[in-house]
Symmetry: C2
Subunit: 767 residues, 2 copies
């Protein structure tokens, strides 16, 4: 843990500058608007440790696969959302010396991420090596309302003596990805040039030919009044910059506003990018800074009105959940169906920014609840469009007859991951993709999705499972050999309870959907089965035969579902007995030691119980929770949220609360000592779930919204809003009562603690 940020309900605040936290803060204070993202790098030069990162959504690079020892079946490349032109940069010189927080004496430093209004602000006073003191204020935002726009306002005020200040805004395409496999540079220059008070730079990726253009126009003022003209320009390969130079008196403020437009070939003909940049900048300049930020703040207000969660009486908890919602909303807005949600969003390079099962297992419920049916359906369609490639992928691994294995990591449907125990064995992802379809239909009631798209996906996934189970003569059961469950601290195990369970569920659910579609839409059903050559009788018979005779490991002594066969052969040590100095074990222990230990990264048995909760009585859930929670080190960001939800379910509210803090403040407090690599964006949706489904106890049963709320001791209240079938439901829970309001939409019946209540349009009930 590393707690250096101030608690505040609506802002993230860093006071004082510690270079040890520089990379962590760059992650935490990241900005994004769905179309692009930017780590909280400084505008001015910074010679300390930094990960410069400007990312454009959907623009990726197929980086040649790097492995130690090639295994058959590995992909040729790993798709990476790549670092692109540094557009925030402004060199700032005082009497010829760079302001550089690694070199100057820092008198004061404050950095604020204003989550309510979506901007980042820094204010600091430094003493230059020459002795002059200056004050700096830097503010920037990535417009939510005009997603091609980023704006930086940067002011310098000499405090101790007049000084020659030079402001040098630039666009610099000479950037690298720290995680480039072969130190390759990913960009070539296409074109650059100067604009009036600015310039533009168009670059192209060396593979796939994505073209991205950045343009800047600057407005420089003295004390907010007199406009200063450009002094100088310069350019070299993939770089274009201006210079505004002036002697500034004490207490005068020299301010630059840098308007930047970012246009990519995803959204614009390549040949029109230059024009599009100029058009966008003209609009931005004519609107001006105040108007642009006003629109931006209003757009954020709109987001918050539907997605905010309030916690009264616990600032740390309040800040945590808002931070999670803020970062998620910055990453994926649902406006572009080609995009998805990378585990680190636009806040770092690890995991390549591609799509994982996180989207289906964690993000979908958040977007269902806060963005509604359309955005959620779009996330499902993303996978539907990749079905053909998933079938090819399974084929490559030896499966046949239309079986599909969705990739572990992907950008365009092709597998990118290259670690056999994950790529080939962490196949439970297929289950999550099927479950998302079920979850979506359960939540929205939109069964047309099944007919139009879902059934095809489900059949292909079930075909995979039915082939992936093999029959063990020695057990007289179907077994699933050689898998890695969500708990990646076990590799290549046999009969992972979670994977086998979700596989059986897929077979069962697909059978049910087959019947449903056949009955409701016989014509469409016929077309589908012809298309996918589905032999209903034989295939379903095979599925039934398999799923009713699967070996699911169980421990008689502890009466728990067993994570995998053989788990009880391990030395059983509890996390509480593990030396703190040994944690996180993934940074302290060699991999084999982790694998041999009983410690769990995320407890997949609990993940399975969470998904299929209705099948288990509370005592069973409790036994499994207690067994697995005590062995789980939560070194996956996806872990504590599920544990928190289950803890709420079984009434362990204080434990649910501490698990909630772990998920909500995972990055803010850097529990796993890795925030310098970027934020855990996808698990942030899990944080949302741990309030809505955990404390709120929200479930859908038989098309009905139900709530079984609990409130942690230290909270006065919490409230959240969700879209449910065109109703905007607001739930507020205090220690005394539960208030449910339908802020928009028709009449609705909900259940609270097993009792039905009618919530009229804009009506309020109190329980």
């Amino acid at each position: 843990m590393n707690q250096y940020l101030k608690h505040d309900e609506w802002s993230i605040i860093e006071e004082g500058f510690n270079p040890m936290n520089a990379r962590a803060s760059e992650s935490i204070f990241s900005l994004g608007n769905g179309a692009m993202g930017q780590r909280a790098n400084f505008e001015e030069r910074y010679s300390g440790k930094s990960l410069q990162g400007s990312y454009v959504a959907g623009v990726y690079y197929p980086d040649k696969t790097r492995v130690g020892w090639w295994k058959n079946g590995y992909p040729e490349y790993f798709a990476k959302v790549i670092n692109s032109t540094n557009w925030i940069g402004i060199n700032v010189l005082v009497n010829g010396e760079h302001i550089d927080l690694a070199e100057c004496k820092i008198d004061s430093f404050t950095r604020i991420l204003n989550m309510k209004e979506g901007f980042l602000e820094r204010e600091f006073i430094v003493e230059m090596p020459s002795g002059v003191k200056v004050k700096v204020n830097a503010k920037r935002f990535l417009s939510i309302s005009s997603p091609e726009l980023g704006v930086v306002r940067y002011s310098v005020t000499p405090l101790s003596a007049k000084a020659e200040i030079s402001l040098q805004p630039y666009l610099d395409g000479n950037v690298i990805n720290e995680d480039s496999n072969y130190n390759e540079k990913f960009w070539d220059e296409v074109e650059k040039g100067f604009l009036n008070n600015g310039g533009y730079l168009i670059t192209q990726t060396k593979k796939l030919d994505y073209v991205v253009g950045h343009g800047m126009v600057c407005n420089v003022t003295l004390d907010g009044q007199s406009v200063i003209d450009i002094t100088d320009k310069n350019q070299y390969e993939k770089y274009i910059g201006c210079n505004y130079n002036k002697i500034i008196e004490i207490d005068q403020t020299f301010t630059i506003t840098k308007y930047v437009a970012v246009i990519s070939s995803l959204n614009c003909e390549k040949s029109d990018i230059g024009k599009s940049i100029r058009d966008s900048l003209n609009v931005a300049i004519s609107k001006g800074y105040n108007s642009l930020i006003k629109d931006h703040i209003e757009a954020w207000a709109d987001i918050w009105v539907h997605s905010d969660i309030t916690v009264e009486g616990d600032v740390a908890a309040q800040q945590g959940i808002r931070f999670n919602i803020f970062q998620l909303s910055q990453t994926y807005t649902g406006k572009d169906e080609r995009l998805n949600i990378g585990p680190k969003g636009f806040t770092g390079e690890k995991y390549g920014g591609s799509t994982y099962w996180d989207t289906e297992a964690y993000c979908l419920p958040f977007y269902l609840g806060t963005h509604g049916q359309k955005v959620a359906r779009q996330l499902l369609l993303y996978r539907y469009k990749h079905l053909e490639k998933a079938i090819l992928n399974a084929n490559k691994l030896g499966f046949k007859d239309g079986a599909a294995l969705y990739p572990m990591v992907t950008m365009n449907g092709e597998e990118c991951h290259n670690e056999w125990e994950i790529t080939f064995e962490e196949i439970h992802r297929n289950g999550a993709i099927a479950f998302a379809i079920y979850n979506y239909v359960r939540y929205t009631g939109d069964s047309t999705y099944l007919t139009d798209f879902g059934l095809e996906v489900l059949i292909a996934i079930s075909r995979f499972w039915s082939q992936r189970f093999t029959y063990s003569e020695s057990k007289g059961k179907y077994v699933m050999l050689g898998v890695t469950g969500p708990n990646e601290y076990e590799n290549n195990v046999n009969n992972n309870w979670y994977t086998s369970s979700i596989a059986c569920w897929c077979l069962e659910y697909t059978e049910q959907v087959v019947k449903q579609v056949k009955q409701i839409e016989p014509e469409k059903y016929k077309k589908i089965i012809e298309l996918v050559k589905f032999n209903e009788i034989d295939e379903i018979a095979k599925w039934q035969k398999v799923r009713t005779n699967v070996y699911l490991p169980y421990d008689e002594k502890y009466q728990v579902f067993l994570q995998q066969e053989g788990y009880m052969d391990k030395e059983q040590i509890l996390v509480k007995d593990l030396e703190p100095s040994q944690r996180p074990i993934n940074q302290k222990w060699s991999w084999d030691r982790i694998l041999r230990s009983c410690f769990i990264k995320q407890a997949d048995v609990l993940q399975g119980i969470y998904l299929f909760e209705d099948r288990f009585d509370v005592e069973t859930i409790k036994r499994n929770f207690e067994f697995y929670e005590s062995r789980t080190v939560h070194e996956s960001s996806l872990s504590p949220c599920v544990h928190s939800i289950l803890a709420s379910k079984i009434g362990k509210i204080e434990q649910a609360y501490s698990l909630y803090l772990r998920t909500a403040r995972l990055d803010l407090d850097d529990y796993n000592k890795e925030v310098h690599e970027g934020l855990h964006i996808t698990s942030m949706a899990g944080t949302w779930m741990s309030i809505v489904e955990g404390f709120g106890g929200m479930r859908i049963q038989n098309d009905m919204l139900i709530f079984n709320p609990h409130i942690p001791k230290g909270w006065n209240s919490f409230s959240f809003k969700i879209w449910f079938r065109d109703n905007l439901i607001k739930v507020k829970v205090t220690h005394q009562e539960v208030t449910i309001a339908n802020e928009q939409g028709p009449f609705l019946t909900v259940k609270v603690w097993d009792k039905p209540f009618n919530v009229n349009s804009s009506g309020i009930i109190k329980i």
Copy 2:
């Protein structure tokens, strides 16, 4: 399989040139002399597919580790024996056109590896693009008697018209390793210059600062008479070359003899390398070609006199075993204690040329039998010198109190391998290193090795095993979790029978050696236990407790030792039922499919039975052999030899024979479609074992040499020689009789078919 080589008792012969086989032949026709090695690249330019390879023993490069996903505990580098200056090169131009077998029309082509005399010869006739026909004869050898010397003699004869022939010998340090992790070049130039009719080039590795100098002096003649002078010289970075140019009449022969000296900083002060090159070349020139090759052939005769195995009546089998002995003898001569035996020797880059457990498990018996005690002891000492690093390695993985884990791959004692399932889990290598000590002492009777070195190693290894077993409450037994056995087609399994068995054996043997040393050398014993802080009573008690209560999986149905827990859950398919098009499965199947299948790369249960044969009755061996052989695809080069030995043991002589062919001709017939990557040098020692221990049935029991020979149907006889405790024993087996002669050494009693015979010095017995 790819059978394009002619069968011959003493030579490997390729007739006709097929570019598809070019890389394979480059491996097969490799030359070496223990100090350096050279793939059978052509002297003249070749623009087809080729792996240029010139290697200097002991000169390696710590190539920065390349992995996809870093795991804690991985090493920082992979040590590679590196490709160094191309010293065989001679550009040959006819009327300005390069002779290039990829470009010229080839009328005839013969390549011969003369194993008896240790040289490589090519003869071919080509038609140049211009139409001129020329004949070429190229012969070269790497002197066994003067290991710093290589000699090439290259002759060109115009056949159809006179032609201007240009012979351009050169030294070229602009070489790469095909397997370089980051396309890094490994060499810098130190110095170069011309010599009279030659030149020299000294280069240095970019890391570790190995310096290697190559010098050449050439002698060029016309029809073996008139000496031709140098026409021209040229040089550029890391390159130096000469040019001999002359118009040659039809049927005149233009011949160059290129003498090359290779001196490395391993054997010479860096500052003296230039002088040493000149000195060596002066000696070579003054001796002359005929004298040099005469010495070389005599040295080979010496090798063959001790190590030859004859097979009468089966040319393919005869050629196979000689090829194996030849290549082994080229790779490691035992003259330099710093060297060891890389899996591919000097014939390719795969596996980096470093030391694996192959040395102890396969090569040691060969060197014991053919080279005697001193060389074998040297191989053991190599590991003794690495003990400290093995303890550090174990420590890095969480083991303590002086436990040692020897590396999977090493050059200097540090682990180089970077694949968790191997690096951290293929720990049976520790057992092989202990077994080699036992094997050496059993064979030589030299128990001083135990006192002086062996006990320290054994204690450290046993400490590792006693910590690596953990107690399973659920089984009430000690278990060994998360290992990879010699059968690398199973990863991260629990209770691999072989690993657990050899671990128990280590604990038992170490206890026995402790007692023995304590009794025989109490003073030395005291010193050792002080040195290694050995707590005799407690540690031995712990070892006993563990080894007597280890879980060793057994299948009741088949009555076989079970490769690992859970093996019988796999679909049991036999290799005979596997489609030939699916083989080798490691080239056809994805890795997960291989892991899930029951197919075995090399059967480690059989490896264990081979090592501990005395513990099992013949029926048990037979049952296990039949069970595992039918599931083994032999895609490890180390596999068929052990199966062949066991097949001989249980009287399945024809099966032993076909397994023998598979090991003996593995590379010649390219069973596993990988000879283009280099030869399987270490498994060649296994071939030797499959004759001596297999058909010869040689064993050591209670200090006595015993033989239980069998002869395959198609053979008339086979014979081999072995050093045994200063006796040189020759065994000849026909269908009628066994002849045993003691060609050198004192009186000896041997057992044949359980009957003792006295073999006097140079006496002969016939049975």
